[in-house]
Amino acid sequence: MKHRLQFTGKKLIRMILLLLGVSIVTFLLMCASPLDPLQTNVGQAALGTMSQEQIAKLEAYWGTDTPPLERYIGWLGDVLHGDFGTSLLYRQPVLTVIGQRLAGSFWLLLSAWVISGVLGLTMGVIAGACRGRWPDKLIKGYCLLISSTPAFWLAILLLLVFAVWLGWFPIGLSVPVGMDAAAVTAADRLRHAVLPALTLSITGVANIALHTREKMIDVLESDYVLFARARGESEASIVLRHGLRNVALPAITLQFASVSEIIGGSVLVEQVFSYPGLGQAAVTAGLGSDLPLLLGITVVTAAIVFAGNLIADLLYGVVDPKIRKGAARG
């Protein structure tokens, strides 16, 4: 138990250091940008008509008058007090904006993550068990096609077919025009989330399916499967009893470790479906040079990704009997 806690502690410290690194890198990149936030957001013409005082006030608001190092240290100090600053575009605390957006994205990401995981695992098991035959070829072909398709184009296609032609789903905007945000029902939200979730699920399958397939083939070539076969176990029983058992853990671990890809995909997909989530906010913040918001979003996303990796690491200790029992004894 003790060394398990130590292991977790070490991982946590590493995670915090990595997050610090992420914030520094993000900050430096944003500061290095030659794009002037004043020009992007206020406009050249408007700036020309303003007085020196007004411009100075704006510069102070966008933070362009403070040296980068001072700004970063100030930001870091505030973060330690739980304050991520104020979004310049939304004029709200960054954490409030992220909270709202994450609430919108959460179910979308989670459902896509679960569906793609289950679907990918199933496809990988089937392909591995049918190695070289048509189901394997079909699944491999599908994975090649899907991993070569840009997520946003797939989103556009689904939008075109299901929203424009068939009219089953709304074309965009979580809140319909002319309706109060509060009047939007849960059913409405769900309807808006179906196509983005579908897109993310379809694209998230390829990686896990191919990995599971390889692992499944290894398992089916193992000594213990040979012995199971020699003892008269049927192919179905071998795949379900031995194959699935030995393939599930690496698959779940991989799925935890690939949170980053689903979040990356959501940035694109939310943009296409105008879904008011975290990804869309990131794009808005990036285009509008909203440093505090983009910084906040990057750090929060990285924290989610690292947490996924941490869970993947710890999961082995919980599920693998070798480590579990070994730790219990030691």
Binding site: L18, F152, S260
Partner: protein, 296 residues
Amino acid sequence: MRSARILDKGIKSRTIRKRRREEKDTNRRLQTILFLVAAIVILTAVTVAGVMTEGYAAETDFSRRNLAPDLQHPFGTDWMGRDMLARTLAGLSLSIRIGVLTAAVSAAVALLLGTASVVFGRKADAVISWCIDLVMGIPHILLVMLISLACGRGFAGVVAGVSLSHWPSLARVIRGELIQLRQAPYILAAEKMGVSKLQNIRRHMLPHLLPQFLTGLILLFPHAILHESSVTFLGFGLSSEQPAIGVILSESMQYLTTGKWWLALFPGAALVIVVILFAMLGERVRRLLDPSSVHE
């Protein structure tokens, strides 16, 4: 598989079967090489054609606005009367050129850092591993966006963004491979005989890495192209005057509701085909160089 055949009859049919199998193998090898040649020819042709049609792709003609696909304009025309086939070709060409450039830079960075983490001792390894984790912790799209912003978007932004975000996985592979190779008896022997570390790596280890490096490099193209178009689509990449696939698809979004499906369908499908060609190319090269690594 399991056949109970009389022996001498079996021997005869076996030799025939053996010959047939050998023929099939040489056929397969030939097929692979033919595929490689064909894929490279197609990709080169698209690149060259794209460069040549760039002028025509930018030509506006308001007398032929928003035409659905027909024989004269197989991919249709857009709201400024530009021919979509020419725009698509120009866009693909640009994508391929950027893909090749960024994949090459990425692979070079990966090789450099992967090697450095093995050569320069534990501290360097710790720092580089940390960097790898760091880069992998930020979703690719977000990182490419940030780097592109830092470079002021545009061509330079996309190239820097994609090249600087795609090296970690290949760097990891190279590092792992080198660590394994370092323990190989002949390397240890060479070290004992006083061959310097760097020389050892150049002379004995890098040649071993070549297959992995080459396939890694080719398999980077699809990722690079996809991320370039994605970031451009979001507005962080190539500017809207350039005939990039990301720009074309981003513009097409405004015309979807009015039923101009061809603006999105053909350019996207063409991009998918190019990416698949690259992915298959990489897979075939891998199978040629290291057949045991692939479960068929």
